[in-house]
Subunit: 248 residues, 2 copies
DNA sequence: TCAAAGTCAACCAAAATCAGTCAAAAATAA
DNA sequence: TTATTTTTGACTGATTTTGGTTGACTTTGA
Protein backbone atom coordinates (compact mmCIF):
# COMPACT_ATOMS: atom_id res chain seq x y z
CA UNK A 1 0.00 0.00 0.00
CA UNK A 2 1.37 3.33 -1.06
CA UNK A 3 2.01 6.03 1.47
CA UNK A 4 -0.37 8.43 -0.23
CA UNK A 5 -3.06 5.76 -0.32
CA UNK A 6 -2.73 5.33 3.41
CA UNK A 7 -2.95 9.06 3.94
CA UNK A 8 -6.09 9.21 1.84
CA UNK A 9 -7.58 6.24 3.70
CA UNK A 10 -6.87 7.79 7.08
CA UNK A 11 -8.35 11.11 6.05
CA UNK A 12 -11.37 9.31 4.65
CA UNK A 13 -12.04 7.45 7.86
CA UNK A 14 -11.46 10.64 9.80
CA UNK A 15 -13.86 12.62 7.64
CA UNK A 16 -16.58 10.13 8.50
CA UNK A 17 -15.91 9.70 12.17
CA UNK A 18 -14.46 13.11 13.12
CA UNK A 19 -12.09 11.31 15.49
CA UNK A 20 -10.16 8.06 15.31
CA UNK A 21 -7.77 6.12 17.53
CA UNK A 22 -4.42 4.67 16.56
CA UNK A 23 -5.71 1.19 17.33
CA UNK A 24 -8.73 1.59 15.04
CA UNK A 25 -6.43 2.59 12.22
CA UNK A 26 -4.07 -0.36 12.70
CA UNK A 27 -7.06 -2.68 12.37
CA UNK A 28 -8.71 -0.85 9.51
CA UNK A 29 -5.57 -0.60 7.42
CA UNK A 30 -3.74 -3.72 8.64
CA UNK A 31 -0.53 -1.86 9.33
CA UNK A 32 1.60 -1.53 12.41
CA UNK A 33 1.13 0.98 15.16
CA UNK A 34 4.45 2.61 14.28
CA UNK A 35 3.36 3.27 10.74
CA UNK A 36 0.05 4.71 11.86
CA UNK A 37 1.88 7.03 14.22
CA UNK A 38 4.26 8.12 11.53
CA UNK A 39 1.39 8.80 9.16
CA UNK A 40 -0.51 10.79 11.74
CA UNK A 41 2.59 12.81 12.50
CA UNK A 42 3.06 13.56 8.80
CA UNK A 43 -0.58 14.52 8.30
CA UNK A 44 -0.50 16.65 11.42
CA UNK A 45 2.57 18.43 10.17
CA UNK A 46 1.03 19.21 6.83
CA UNK A 47 -1.99 20.53 8.69
CA UNK A 48 -4.51 17.97 7.43
CA UNK A 49 -5.56 16.69 10.86
CA UNK A 50 -5.00 17.28 14.53
CA UNK A 51 -3.01 14.69 16.40
CA UNK A 52 -4.31 14.13 19.91
CA UNK A 53 -3.33 11.70 22.62
CA UNK A 54 -4.52 8.28 21.45
CA UNK A 55 -5.35 9.19 17.88
CA UNK A 56 -6.40 12.13 15.75
CA UNK A 57 -9.33 14.46 15.10
CA UNK A 58 -10.43 16.55 12.15
CA UNK A 59 -9.07 20.06 11.90
CA UNK A 60 -12.20 22.08 11.50
CA UNK A 61 -14.64 21.21 14.24
CA UNK A 62 -12.42 22.78 16.86
CA UNK A 63 -12.70 26.25 15.42
CA UNK A 64 -15.83 28.17 16.19
CA UNK A 65 -15.98 30.95 13.68
CA UNK A 66 -16.00 31.70 10.01
CA UNK A 67 -12.74 33.54 9.93
CA UNK A 68 -10.77 30.92 8.09
CA UNK A 69 -10.88 32.57 4.70
CA UNK A 70 -9.00 35.53 6.10
CA UNK A 71 -6.09 33.24 6.72
CA UNK A 72 -6.05 31.53 3.36
CA UNK A 73 -6.65 34.76 1.52
CA UNK A 74 -3.42 36.29 2.66
CA UNK A 75 -1.24 33.28 2.70
CA UNK A 76 1.61 33.68 0.35
CA UNK A 77 3.76 30.67 1.20
CA UNK A 78 1.27 28.53 3.11
CA UNK A 79 3.38 25.41 3.46
CA UNK A 80 6.37 27.41 4.65
CA UNK A 81 4.21 29.31 7.11
CA UNK A 82 2.82 26.05 8.47
CA UNK A 83 6.35 24.80 9.08
CA UNK A 84 7.27 28.08 10.72
CA UNK A 85 4.17 27.94 12.89
CA UNK A 86 5.00 24.42 14.00
CA UNK A 87 8.57 25.34 14.83
CA UNK A 88 7.47 28.36 16.82
CA UNK A 89 4.85 26.39 18.74
CA UNK A 90 7.50 23.88 19.75
CA UNK A 91 9.40 26.61 21.56
CA UNK A 92 6.57 27.36 23.95
CA UNK A 93 7.14 25.62 27.25
CA UNK A 94 5.07 24.94 30.31
CA UNK A 95 3.98 28.12 32.06
CA UNK A 96 5.44 30.47 29.48
CA UNK A 97 3.80 33.87 29.24
CA UNK A 98 3.66 34.51 25.54
CA UNK A 99 3.00 37.57 23.39
CA UNK A 100 1.66 36.89 19.92
CA UNK A 101 1.81 39.77 17.46
CA UNK A 102 -1.02 40.29 14.96
CA UNK A 103 -0.32 39.02 11.44
CA UNK A 104 -0.93 36.09 9.16
CA UNK A 105 2.24 34.15 9.91
CA UNK A 106 1.81 34.27 13.67
CA UNK A 107 -1.75 32.98 13.18
CA UNK A 108 -0.29 29.63 12.12
CA UNK A 109 1.47 29.20 15.44
CA UNK A 110 -1.86 28.78 17.20
CA UNK A 111 -2.78 25.65 15.24
CA UNK A 112 0.17 23.79 16.70
CA UNK A 113 -0.03 24.85 20.30
CA UNK A 114 -0.35 22.23 22.97
CA UNK A 115 -2.19 22.72 26.21
CA UNK A 116 0.57 23.20 28.76
CA UNK A 117 -0.48 25.96 31.08
CA UNK A 118 1.02 28.74 28.99
CA UNK A 119 -0.92 32.03 28.89
CA UNK A 120 -1.14 34.32 25.89
CA UNK A 121 -1.44 38.02 25.22
CA UNK A 122 -2.08 39.32 21.74
CA UNK A 123 -3.04 42.46 19.83
CA UNK A 124 -4.66 40.46 17.02
CA UNK A 125 -8.40 40.04 17.27
CA UNK A 126 -8.41 36.91 15.14
CA UNK A 127 -5.56 35.53 17.20
CA UNK A 128 -7.48 36.12 20.41
CA UNK A 129 -10.61 34.52 18.99
CA UNK A 130 -8.75 31.46 17.80
CA UNK A 131 -6.74 31.03 20.99
CA UNK A 132 -9.92 31.35 22.96
CA UNK A 133 -11.70 28.83 20.76
CA UNK A 134 -8.91 26.35 21.36
CA UNK A 135 -9.32 26.77 25.10
CA UNK A 136 -6.18 28.72 25.96
CA UNK A 137 -5.94 31.41 28.58
CA UNK A 138 -5.81 34.58 26.52
CA UNK A 139 -5.73 38.33 27.04
CA UNK A 140 -6.20 40.98 24.41
CA UNK A 141 -4.57 44.36 24.78
CA UNK A 142 -6.86 47.36 24.68
CA UNK A 143 -6.82 50.15 22.12
CA UNK A 144 -7.93 51.23 18.68
CA UNK A 145 -8.75 48.47 16.20
CA UNK A 146 -7.12 48.87 12.79
CA UNK A 147 -9.61 48.27 10.04
CA UNK A 148 -7.84 45.93 7.65
CA UNK A 149 -5.53 43.86 9.81
CA UNK A 150 -7.80 43.83 12.88
CA UNK A 151 -4.76 44.61 14.98
CA UNK A 152 -5.06 46.66 18.15
CA UNK A 153 -2.83 49.77 18.10
CA UNK A 154 -2.54 53.28 19.52
CA UNK A 155 -1.54 54.87 22.79
CA UNK A 156 -3.91 52.70 24.84
CA UNK A 157 -2.28 49.63 23.34
CA UNK A 158 1.20 50.91 24.16
CA UNK A 159 0.14 51.63 27.70
CA UNK A 160 -1.62 48.27 28.15
CA UNK A 161 1.62 46.55 27.25
CA UNK A 162 3.64 48.20 29.98
CA UNK A 163 2.32 45.95 32.73
CA UNK A 164 3.21 42.64 31.08
CA UNK A 165 6.50 40.75 31.35
CA UNK A 166 6.57 38.11 28.66
CA UNK A 167 8.88 35.13 28.70
CA UNK A 168 8.57 34.79 24.93
CA UNK A 169 7.20 36.87 22.09
CA UNK A 170 6.46 36.04 18.44
CA UNK A 171 6.36 38.80 15.85
CA UNK A 172 5.58 39.12 12.20
CA UNK A 173 7.55 41.42 9.93
CA UNK A 174 7.42 42.79 6.39
CA UNK A 175 11.12 43.32 5.88
CA UNK A 176 14.38 41.91 7.22
CA UNK A 177 17.76 43.41 6.47
CA UNK A 178 21.05 43.41 8.32
CA UNK A 179 21.26 47.19 8.24
CA UNK A 180 17.64 48.21 8.84
CA UNK A 181 16.66 45.26 11.02
CA UNK A 182 12.99 44.26 11.15
CA UNK A 183 10.60 46.68 9.45
CA UNK A 184 6.89 47.15 8.75
CA UNK A 185 4.86 49.55 6.59
CA UNK A 186 2.58 50.85 9.33
CA UNK A 187 3.87 53.28 11.94
CA UNK A 188 1.19 52.46 14.54
CA UNK A 189 1.69 48.73 14.25
CA UNK A 190 5.42 49.29 14.35
CA UNK A 191 5.13 51.17 17.62
CA UNK A 192 3.14 48.31 19.18
CA UNK A 193 5.62 45.70 17.93
CA UNK A 194 8.46 47.73 19.34
CA UNK A 195 6.81 48.19 22.73
CA UNK A 196 5.81 44.55 23.00
CA UNK A 197 9.23 43.32 21.96
CA UNK A 198 10.81 45.39 24.69
CA UNK A 199 8.75 43.48 27.27
CA UNK A 200 9.89 40.02 26.08
CA UNK A 201 12.68 38.05 27.64
CA UNK A 202 13.04 36.10 24.39
CA UNK A 203 11.80 37.55 21.12
CA UNK A 204 11.24 35.62 17.89
CA UNK A 205 10.44 36.98 14.45
CA UNK A 206 8.60 34.58 12.14
CA UNK A 207 9.21 35.22 8.45
CA UNK A 208 8.90 33.32 5.19
CA UNK A 209 11.49 33.65 2.44
CA UNK A 210 9.77 36.65 0.85
CA UNK A 211 10.71 38.90 3.75
CA UNK A 212 14.50 38.68 3.55
CA UNK A 213 16.59 41.53 2.16
CA UNK A 214 13.59 43.83 2.11
CA UNK A 215 13.17 47.13 3.90
CA UNK A 216 9.76 48.56 4.86
CA UNK A 217 9.27 52.19 6.01
CA UNK A 218 9.30 51.67 9.78
CA UNK A 219 12.01 49.72 11.60
CA UNK A 220 10.62 48.26 14.81
CA UNK A 221 13.64 46.31 16.03
CA UNK A 222 17.33 45.77 15.46
CA UNK A 223 18.34 42.60 13.62
CA UNK A 224 20.09 41.26 16.71
CA UNK A 225 17.19 41.79 19.06
CA UNK A 226 15.22 38.73 17.99
CA UNK A 227 15.77 35.15 16.86
CA UNK A 228 14.45 34.55 13.34
CA UNK A 229 12.24 31.55 12.62
CA UNK A 230 11.99 30.75 8.93
CA UNK A 231 11.49 27.83 6.56
CA UNK A 232 14.89 27.34 5.04
CA UNK A 233 17.47 30.10 5.28
CA UNK A 234 18.90 30.91 1.88
CA UNK A 235 21.05 33.90 2.72
CA UNK A 236 23.59 32.70 5.26
CA UNK A 237 24.91 36.16 6.07
CA UNK A 238 22.13 36.57 8.64
CA UNK A 239 23.87 33.99 10.80
CA UNK A 240 26.53 36.61 11.51
CA UNK A 241 23.96 38.94 13.04
CA UNK A 242 21.43 36.85 14.91
CA UNK A 243 20.19 33.32 15.65
CA UNK A 244 18.10 31.65 12.95
CA UNK A 245 15.88 28.62 13.51
CA UNK A 246 14.74 26.66 10.50
CA UNK A 247 11.48 24.73 10.27
CA UNK A 248 11.35 21.94 7.74
CA UNK B 1 -12.17 6.60 23.34
CA UNK B 2 -10.35 9.83 22.71
CA UNK B 3 -10.45 12.74 25.10
CA UNK B 4 -12.13 14.96 22.54
CA UNK B 5 -14.75 12.32 21.86
CA UNK B 6 -15.56 12.12 25.54
CA UNK B 7 -15.82 15.89 25.72
CA UNK B 8 -18.16 15.89 22.75
CA UNK B 9 -20.25 13.09 24.27
CA UNK B 10 -20.54 14.88 27.59
CA UNK B 11 -21.54 18.13 25.93
CA UNK B 12 -24.02 16.23 23.79
CA UNK B 13 -25.71 14.63 26.76
CA UNK B 14 -25.66 17.94 28.53
CA UNK B 15 -27.23 19.78 25.61
CA UNK B 16 -30.14 17.36 25.74
CA UNK B 17 -30.67 17.19 29.45
CA UNK B 18 -29.47 20.67 30.53
CA UNK B 19 -27.96 19.07 33.64
CA UNK B 20 -26.18 15.81 34.33
CA UNK B 21 -24.68 14.05 37.34
CA UNK B 22 -21.23 12.51 37.58
CA UNK B 23 -22.80 9.12 38.14
CA UNK B 24 -24.94 9.36 35.01
CA UNK B 25 -21.87 10.13 32.98
CA UNK B 26 -19.86 7.23 34.38
CA UNK B 27 -22.68 4.89 33.31
CA UNK B 28 -23.34 6.51 29.95
CA UNK B 29 -19.69 6.58 28.90
CA UNK B 30 -18.41 3.58 30.87
CA UNK B 31 -15.55 5.50 32.39
CA UNK B 32 -14.49 6.04 35.95
CA UNK B 33 -15.69 8.75 38.23
CA UNK B 34 -12.19 10.24 38.33
CA UNK B 35 -12.12 10.64 34.58
CA UNK B 36 -15.55 12.20 34.51
CA UNK B 37 -14.47 14.68 37.16
CA UNK B 38 -11.30 15.52 35.27
CA UNK B 39 -13.28 16.03 32.06
CA UNK B 40 -15.81 18.24 33.77
CA UNK B 41 -13.01 20.30 35.28
CA UNK B 42 -11.41 20.74 31.87
CA UNK B 43 -14.68 21.66 30.17
CA UNK B 44 -15.52 24.02 32.96
CA UNK B 45 -12.15 25.71 32.65
CA UNK B 46 -12.55 26.18 28.93
CA UNK B 47 -15.99 27.63 29.55
CA UNK B 48 -18.03 24.93 27.84
CA UNK B 49 -20.14 24.00 30.86
CA UNK B 50 -20.71 24.92 34.46
CA UNK B 51 -19.49 22.50 37.06
CA UNK B 52 -21.85 22.23 40.01
CA UNK B 53 -21.84 20.05 43.09
CA UNK B 54 -22.66 16.53 41.92
CA UNK B 55 -22.34 17.13 38.20
CA UNK B 56 -22.61 19.87 35.61
CA UNK B 57 -25.10 22.12 33.86
CA UNK B 58 -25.16 24.02 30.60
CA UNK B 59 -23.55 27.40 30.77
CA UNK B 60 -26.42 29.79 31.08
CA UNK B 61 -29.62 28.14 32.24
CA UNK B 62 -28.88 28.24 35.94
CA UNK B 63 -31.58 30.67 36.92
CA UNK B 64 -33.31 32.08 33.87
CA UNK B 65 -35.03 29.12 32.33
CA UNK B 66 -34.20 28.18 28.80
CA UNK B 67 -31.15 29.99 27.61
CA UNK B 68 -28.93 28.50 25.03
CA UNK B 69 -25.43 29.26 23.90
CA UNK B 70 -24.43 32.33 21.94
CA UNK B 71 -25.09 30.80 18.56
CA UNK B 72 -28.62 29.60 19.18
CA UNK B 73 -29.38 32.54 21.39
CA UNK B 74 -28.67 34.77 18.47
CA UNK B 75 -31.72 33.33 16.77
CA UNK B 76 -34.09 33.35 19.71
CA UNK B 77 -36.25 36.37 18.91
CA UNK B 78 -34.50 37.55 15.76
CA UNK B 79 -37.23 39.85 14.50
CA UNK B 80 -37.57 41.50 17.87
CA UNK B 81 -33.82 41.87 18.23
CA UNK B 82 -33.57 43.48 14.83
CA UNK B 83 -36.24 45.99 15.80
CA UNK B 84 -34.41 46.68 19.05
CA UNK B 85 -31.16 47.11 17.19
CA UNK B 86 -32.70 49.61 14.79
CA UNK B 87 -34.26 51.59 17.61
CA UNK B 88 -30.97 51.72 19.51
CA UNK B 89 -29.00 52.79 16.45
CA UNK B 90 -31.40 55.71 15.93
CA UNK B 91 -30.41 57.11 19.30
CA UNK B 92 -26.78 57.57 18.38
CA UNK B 93 -26.05 61.15 17.40
CA UNK B 94 -23.19 62.99 15.78
CA UNK B 95 -19.98 62.82 17.80
CA UNK B 96 -21.40 60.53 20.47
CA UNK B 97 -18.84 58.42 22.26
CA UNK B 98 -20.58 55.08 22.61
CA UNK B 99 -19.95 51.98 24.69
CA UNK B 100 -21.34 48.73 23.29
CA UNK B 101 -21.50 45.80 25.66
CA UNK B 102 -20.77 42.26 24.43
CA UNK B 103 -23.81 40.09 23.75
CA UNK B 104 -26.06 38.93 20.96
CA UNK B 105 -28.68 41.67 21.16
CA UNK B 106 -26.19 44.52 21.08
CA UNK B 107 -24.63 42.94 18.01
CA UNK B 108 -27.75 43.88 16.05
CA UNK B 109 -27.25 47.56 16.79
CA UNK B 110 -24.17 47.65 14.62
CA UNK B 111 -26.08 46.65 11.49
CA UNK B 112 -28.15 49.85 11.65
CA UNK B 113 -25.45 52.36 12.47
CA UNK B 114 -24.96 55.33 10.19
CA UNK B 115 -21.66 57.04 9.63
CA UNK B 116 -21.85 60.23 11.66
CA UNK B 117 -18.53 60.70 13.39
CA UNK B 118 -19.42 58.68 16.47
CA UNK B 119 -16.68 56.58 18.06
CA UNK B 120 -17.18 53.23 19.72
CA UNK B 121 -15.67 51.29 22.56
CA UNK B 122 -16.63 47.66 23.18
CA UNK B 123 -15.65 44.60 25.17
CA UNK B 124 -17.02 42.21 22.55
CA UNK B 125 -14.54 40.84 20.07
CA UNK B 126 -17.19 40.14 17.47
CA UNK B 127 -18.59 43.61 17.99
CA UNK B 128 -15.17 45.20 17.48
CA UNK B 129 -14.59 43.13 14.34
CA UNK B 130 -17.95 44.07 12.88
CA UNK B 131 -17.64 47.75 13.73
CA UNK B 132 -14.19 47.81 12.24
CA UNK B 133 -15.39 46.04 9.11
CA UNK B 134 -18.09 48.69 8.69
CA UNK B 135 -15.47 51.41 8.89
CA UNK B 136 -16.24 52.91 12.28
CA UNK B 137 -13.68 54.26 14.67
CA UNK B 138 -13.51 51.53 17.29
CA UNK B 139 -11.55 50.71 20.43
CA UNK B 140 -11.53 47.42 22.25
CA UNK B 141 -10.89 47.30 25.97
CA UNK B 142 -8.01 45.09 27.12
CA UNK B 143 -8.25 42.06 29.35
CA UNK B 144 -8.96 38.35 29.52
CA UNK B 145 -11.08 36.88 26.73
CA UNK B 146 -13.99 34.71 27.87
CA UNK B 147 -14.18 31.49 25.90
CA UNK B 148 -17.81 31.20 24.84
CA UNK B 149 -19.04 34.75 24.57
CA UNK B 150 -15.72 36.22 23.40
CA UNK B 151 -16.24 39.05 25.83
CA UNK B 152 -13.29 40.82 27.41
CA UNK B 153 -13.42 40.70 31.21
CA UNK B 154 -11.19 40.80 34.30
CA UNK B 155 -9.29 43.41 36.26
CA UNK B 156 -7.51 44.76 33.17
CA UNK B 157 -10.88 45.34 31.55
CA UNK B 158 -12.20 47.15 34.58
CA UNK B 159 -9.12 49.33 34.65
CA UNK B 160 -9.20 50.05 30.92
CA UNK B 161 -12.72 51.42 31.33
CA UNK B 162 -11.76 54.01 33.92
CA UNK B 163 -10.33 56.45 31.37
CA UNK B 164 -13.40 56.64 29.14
CA UNK B 165 -16.36 59.00 29.50
CA UNK B 166 -19.13 57.73 27.31
CA UNK B 167 -22.07 59.82 26.20
CA UNK B 168 -24.14 56.70 25.64
CA UNK B 169 -23.86 53.03 26.50
CA UNK B 170 -25.81 49.98 25.30
CA UNK B 171 -25.97 46.86 27.42
CA UNK B 172 -27.36 43.38 27.14
CA UNK B 173 -28.91 41.59 30.07
CA UNK B 174 -30.19 38.15 31.02
CA UNK B 175 -32.77 39.18 33.55
CA UNK B 176 -34.87 42.25 34.35
CA UNK B 177 -36.91 42.61 37.49
CA UNK B 178 -38.09 45.60 39.45
CA UNK B 179 -36.54 44.32 42.64
CA UNK B 180 -33.25 42.85 41.40
CA UNK B 181 -32.74 45.25 38.50
CA UNK B 182 -30.63 44.05 35.57
CA UNK B 183 -28.86 40.74 36.10
CA UNK B 184 -26.52 38.35 34.31
CA UNK B 185 -25.28 34.80 35.00
CA UNK B 186 -21.58 35.59 34.88
CA UNK B 187 -19.87 37.49 37.70
CA UNK B 188 -16.96 38.69 35.59
CA UNK B 189 -19.16 39.97 32.80
CA UNK B 190 -21.38 41.55 35.41
CA UNK B 191 -18.46 43.46 36.87
CA UNK B 192 -17.53 44.84 33.45
CA UNK B 193 -21.12 45.84 32.71
CA UNK B 194 -21.32 47.57 36.03
CA UNK B 195 -18.06 49.47 35.55
CA UNK B 196 -18.90 50.50 32.00
CA UNK B 197 -22.39 51.61 32.93
CA UNK B 198 -20.95 53.86 35.62
CA UNK B 199 -18.97 55.71 32.92
CA UNK B 200 -22.01 56.42 30.73
CA UNK B 201 -23.94 59.68 30.74
CA UNK B 202 -26.92 57.83 29.28
CA UNK B 203 -27.25 54.09 29.66
CA UNK B 204 -29.59 51.83 27.68
CA UNK B 205 -30.38 48.17 28.24
CA UNK B 206 -31.54 46.27 25.18
CA UNK B 207 -33.74 43.28 25.95
CA UNK B 208 -36.24 41.11 24.13
CA UNK B 209 -39.43 39.89 25.84
CA UNK B 210 -37.75 36.76 27.21
CA UNK B 211 -35.70 38.80 29.67
CA UNK B 212 -38.49 40.40 31.68
CA UNK B 213 -39.39 39.17 35.14
CA UNK B 214 -36.31 36.99 35.28
CA UNK B 215 -33.49 37.10 37.79
CA UNK B 216 -29.97 35.91 37.00
CA UNK B 217 -27.32 35.41 39.70
CA UNK B 218 -25.48 38.73 39.40
CA UNK B 219 -27.19 42.10 39.44
CA UNK B 220 -25.10 44.65 37.55
CA UNK B 221 -27.38 47.70 37.74
CA UNK B 222 -30.47 49.06 39.42
CA UNK B 223 -33.68 49.10 37.37
CA UNK B 224 -33.73 52.92 37.39
CA UNK B 225 -30.16 53.36 36.18
CA UNK B 226 -30.83 52.63 32.52
CA UNK B 227 -33.49 53.16 29.89
CA UNK B 228 -34.86 49.88 28.57
CA UNK B 229 -35.13 49.33 24.82
CA UNK B 230 -37.42 46.43 23.92
CA UNK B 231 -39.80 45.27 21.20
CA UNK B 232 -43.21 45.72 22.74
CA UNK B 233 -43.58 46.11 26.46
CA UNK B 234 -46.08 43.66 27.89
CA UNK B 235 -45.69 44.28 31.58
CA UNK B 236 -46.55 47.94 32.13
CA UNK B 237 -45.37 48.02 35.72
CA UNK B 238 -41.83 48.77 34.53
CA UNK B 239 -43.01 52.24 33.48
CA UNK B 240 -43.20 53.10 37.17
CA UNK B 241 -39.51 52.44 37.62
CA UNK B 242 -37.70 53.58 34.49
CA UNK B 243 -38.07 54.80 30.92
CA UNK B 244 -38.93 52.20 28.29
CA UNK B 245 -38.49 52.72 24.54
CA UNK B 246 -40.31 50.37 22.21
CA UNK B 247 -38.94 49.41 18.81
CA UNK B 248 -40.70 48.78 15.49
C1' DT C 1 -27.32 22.34 65.65
C1' DC C 2 -25.32 17.69 64.50
C1' DA C 3 -24.12 13.34 62.10
C1' DA C 4 -24.53 10.51 58.06
C1' DA C 5 -24.29 10.31 53.25
C1' DG C 6 -22.63 12.07 49.23
C1' DT C 7 -19.16 14.47 46.69
C1' DC C 8 -14.73 16.41 45.98
C1' DA C 9 -9.55 17.33 44.80
C1' DA C 10 -5.16 15.27 45.45
C1' DC C 11 -2.28 11.51 45.24
C1' DC C 12 -0.43 7.23 43.50
C1' DA C 13 0.40 3.15 40.95
C1' DA C 14 -1.01 0.70 36.80
C1' DA C 15 -2.07 0.96 32.04
C1' DA C 16 -1.89 3.19 27.72
C1' DT C 17 0.43 5.87 24.60
C1' DC C 18 4.32 8.29 22.91
C1' DA C 19 8.84 9.47 20.25
C1' DG C 20 13.05 7.59 19.16
C1' DT C 21 16.28 3.78 17.84
C1' DC C 22 17.46 -0.15 15.28
C1' DA C 23 17.53 -3.94 12.25
C1' DA C 24 14.94 -6.36 8.74
C1' DA C 25 12.26 -5.87 4.53
C1' DA C 26 11.17 -3.48 0.44
C1' DA C 27 12.07 -0.37 -3.13
C1' DT C 28 15.27 1.86 -6.03
C1' DA C 29 19.57 2.54 -8.37
C1' DA C 30 23.83 1.04 -10.43
C1' DT D 1 23.03 -9.18 -10.24
C1' DT D 2 24.73 -6.07 -6.03
C1' DA D 3 24.73 -1.71 -3.55
C1' DT D 4 22.17 2.02 -1.65
C1' DT D 5 18.27 4.21 0.05
C1' DT D 6 13.68 4.17 1.94
C1' DT D 7 10.08 2.16 4.48
C1' DT D 8 8.44 -0.80 7.86
C1' DG D 9 7.62 -3.03 12.35
C1' DA D 10 9.44 -4.32 16.83
C1' DC D 11 11.41 -2.67 20.91
C1' DT D 12 12.64 0.75 24.64
C1' DG D 13 12.46 4.19 28.14
C1' DA D 14 9.81 8.30 28.88
C1' DT D 15 5.45 10.56 29.17
C1' DT D 16 0.46 10.88 29.64
C1' DT D 17 -3.78 9.17 31.05
C1' DT D 18 -6.58 6.43 33.90
C1' DG D 19 -9.02 4.54 37.91
C1' DG D 20 -8.83 3.44 42.77
C1' DT D 21 -8.06 5.35 47.41
C1' DT D 22 -7.79 8.78 50.98
C1' DG D 23 -8.96 12.44 53.83
C1' DA D 24 -11.41 16.79 53.48
C1' DC D 25 -15.40 19.19 52.26
C1' DT D 26 -20.60 19.85 51.17
C1' DT D 27 -25.20 18.65 51.38
C1' DT D 28 -29.04 16.41 53.48
C1' DG D 29 -32.18 15.35 57.02
C1' DA D 30 -33.19 14.92 61.51
Amino acid sequence: MLTEERYAAILGILAEKKAVTVLELTKALQISESTVRRDLTALHRSGRLYKVYGGATTIDNNYSKDEEDMQTKRDLYPEEKVAIGRKAAELIERDDFVYIDAGSTTLHIIDFLKENGAAFVTNGMQHAARLSARGFKVFIIGGAVKAITEAVVGTEALQSLQCYNFTKGFFGTNGISTKSGFSTPDAEEGAVKSAALARCKNAFVVADRSKFNKIAPITFADISSATIITGRLEDKKYLDYTTVLEGE
